[in-house]
């Protein structure tokens, strides 16, 4: 991995340190699965989600709320995945 990408990923990873344990755990699982395959568009979508307040973000991840943005919705699906999708 080039240094520039590593720095971007590290920054995103730190922004995944949240106030709520539930989100910490969800992001931990996400990075284990998707760190290698996250592309620049995925980084941008995740970055935007990480700007949300913790309670708003957990409402999306726990399925209590939904988002109209299809790219955000796809990312939320990945965050919600209990087992990794076979073909992603």
């Amino acid at each position: 991995m080039d240094e520039e990408r590593q720095a971007r990923i590290n920054r995103l990873k730190w922004h995944c340190r949240r106030a709520l344990l539930e989100l910490d755990l969800v992001f931990d699982r996400f990075w284990e699965r998707y760190e290698g395959s996250l592309d620049e568009q995925g980084e941008a979508v995740l970055g935007a989600l990480l700007e949300l307040e913790d309670h708003e973000l957990w409402a999306l991840v726990s399925g209590r709320e939904t988002t109209a943005d299809p790219r955000q919705a796809a990312m939320i699906e990945r965050l919600r995945e209990v087992s990794p999708a076979a073909n992603f």
């Binding site: 720095a7 590290n10 920054r11 730190w14 340190r17 106030a19 344990l21 539930e22």
Partner: protein
């Protein structure tokens, strides 16, 4: 390794509730104030607090700070300092009303006053009957509080340093504190924040346990820094546990699940609470349920491959009841236990929730240490507030909703005391003590250059599992003694952790290694203090502390009505008396704690 120096009147480490409240005080007084924080302020763990903040406003029925004080002393199992408790309970109304003026959206009564709800342990007339004392903003009290205080800080020009990791205290040969050394995560740059007042508000350290409700950021950074600077840690054996956290994850399963009919079962499927509490069964108090769960696990009746959890069964309840009355539980089961709780029971264990001990302080928010015969001599230039501090208002166990009150009252108090000191006594910066800066730099250097060292993740896990097994909610003499040996061995490995990533920009591996340096100090303090305290009191419950007329429920006031002080140097223990004399009222005399 090089560093730059920046001068401030005050530096505050931590931007949760206590740090933000202290910062308001200093910035409003016109002092140049820096707040260092690992994460953006409104992502501090205070956000997770739901229950409310206690204040005897008496908006719905008669209430009085003296009754609140009584409940707090009783909750603390008489280990709380009664001067600090009186101070906190008397100040409660003032800090809640101030918060309202900052724009906090409290729930309201029809007449416009703040709505107050009942909460466990809140009683009127010295324990007579329940009283409505908790002020809340729906189930987002902590979140709303942080937002109101952050906005206020922006208005009064507090300077935030976001995503900075504090490394170590700067303390000179006189013992005075002159600031902190810190690292900018963005660049890896090291800066000494040279200050006339240094306030720690770094929160709790619940990540020392394998099962914890605390977010990952709760790594006891302030406690680690204080311990390395020679400051003792007080009453670290006292940790509040919640009986039902999801095994392996820590996410809290609300008590409402048992309230709706949830049943705890062991590996044989037995409803074991019938043996421990024939009447209340699964609805027995937190302590009783946690102890019973631990006994089942220790006696080999736990579930799973390692027999290390029990089951919380709600499969007999109608699915519509679960989805309607316990919203969120179904999703938590799926997300964190891989279990559909409508069809299968949830794996649960007693889970660490709140740290009663911390950096010793007085009600003024000054950090205090034994010196020259005085057990509580203030350390010049050093203050602490919130969960990282031990005032001590929670003593051996915390009353619900007193955590948010603690951070408001003592955040303000620490800020106020610092303002007074800056105005009257500490008018100039003392020369920097380079020795303590060099020690901080050497710690980072060691980490950068370590070869053939220990893996951070594995070492942290070994510490967490050891603490869970040996110093959990229910404690055993031999297990504690073994645990001390094991944690000391793990501390040796922590001193030799190695990171593969040596990059400077947002090096999260380095941050996690530095956090582990702090966690291990808290773990040592906890298990060494717990091993030495041979009684049961509040949240510290030992199997070998016998229930006799002189020691009811194992509480031994003759020998153990005293605060523990743990020193990093040689794992040494010292003790200091509990302040039984309040500020103005009569002492709340010792009696058996029963609800």
């Amino acid at each position: 390794m090089s560093y730059t120096v920046r001068k401030f009147d005050a530096v505050i480490v931590g931007a949760g509730g206590a740090g933000l409240r202290a910062a308001i005080q200093l910035s409003e007084a016109g002092f140049k104030t820096a707040v260092l924080t690992k994460v953006f302020p409104t992502r501090s763990h205070t956000v997770a607090a739901q229950g409310g903040v206690a204040a005897s406003l008496g908006n719905s029925e008669e209430d009085h700070w003296h009754w609140h004080m009584y409940d707090t002393v009783k909750g603390s199992d008489w280990l709380g300092d009664q001067d600090a408790i009186e101070f906190m309970c008397r100040k409660a109304n003032e800090v809640v009303v101030e918060l309202e003026h900052y724009g906090m959206p409290f729930d309201r009564l029809d007449n416009g006053k703040i709505y107050q709800r009942p909460f466990g342990g809140h009683m009127s007339n010295f324990g007579e009957k329940p009283v409505r004392r908790s002020c809340a903003a729906a189930d987002r009290t902590g979140h709303a509080m942080l937002h109101a205080m952050y906005q206020r800080n922006v208005k009064v020009n507090t300077q935030f340093f976001v995503e900075w990791q504090a490394l170590d205290l700067v303390r000179d040969a006189d013992g005075d504190v002159l600031g902190v050394t810190a690292m900018d995560m963005e660049t890896g740059e090291i800066v000494v924040f040279h200050a006339k007042a240094t306030i720690f508000a770094t929160g709790g350290s619940g990540r020392i346990y394998y099962s914890s409700t605390n977010a990952f950021i709760n790594t006891g950074d302030g406690l680690g820094m204080a311990a390395r600077a020679g400051i003792p840690l007080e009453d670290m054996e006292f940790w509040q546990f919640h009986p039902t956290g999801v095994a392996g994850a820590g996410v809290l399963i609300t008590e409402g699940v048992r309230g709706e009919g949830g049943i705890l079962r062991n590996s044989a499927g037995e409803r074991f609470m019938e043996r421990y509490a024939p009447n209340a069964k699964d609805l027995a108090s937190r302590d009783v349920v946690s102890r019973a769960m631990t006994t089942e696990i220790n006696e080999g009746r736990g579930c799973g491959p390692n027999k290390d959890f029990v089951l919380l069964d709600i499969t007999h309840l109608p699915p519509e009841t679960i989805m309607k009355r316990l919203p969120g539980i179904h999703e938590i089961g799926i997300q964190f236990a891989g279990v559909d709780c409508l069809k299968e029971p949830l794996p649960v264990v007693p889970t660490c929730h709140y740290q009663m001990g911390g950096i010793p302080t007085n009600y003024l928010g000054q950090v205090v240490v034994p010196k020259g015969g005085n057990p509580s001599e203030p350390v010049l230039g050093f203050y602490a507030a919130g969960e990282c501090a031990c005032a001590s208002v929670h003593g051996a166990n915390r009353l619900g909703t007193n955590s948010l009150l603690d951070l408001l009252v003592f955040g303000k108090s620490a800020g106020e005391t610092a303002v007074n000191d800056l105005r009257n006594t500490v008018k100039a910066h003392k020369p920097l003590a380079t020795e303590s800066i060099e020690r901080a730099l050497a710690r980072v250097d060691r980490l950068n250059n370590q070869k053939d060292g220990a893996d951070v993740h594995e070492t942290r896990l070994a510490m967490q599992r050891t603490m869970q097994k040996h110093a959990g909610v229910f404690r055993f003499k031999d297990m504690l003694a073994e645990g001390v040996t094991r944690i000391n061995e793990i501390a040796g490995q922590v001193a030799q952790t190695q990171i593969k990533d040596k990059s400077k920009v947002f090096n999260t591996a380095r941050i996690e290694a530095l956090e582990l340096d702090n966690l291990i100090e808290v773990a040592k303090a906890t298990i060494v203090s717990a091993n030495a305290r041979t009684e049961s009191r509040g949240a510290h419950v030992r199997d070998d502390a016998v229930d006799t007329p002189e020691t009811p429920d194992g509480r031994d006031d003759k020998n153990w009505l005293k605060h523990t002080l743990w020193y990093r140097d040689g794992n040494r223990l010292d003790y200091k008396p509990v302040q039984m004399k309040p500020m103005t009222v009569d002492t709340i005399e010792l009696k058996k704690r029963a609800y």
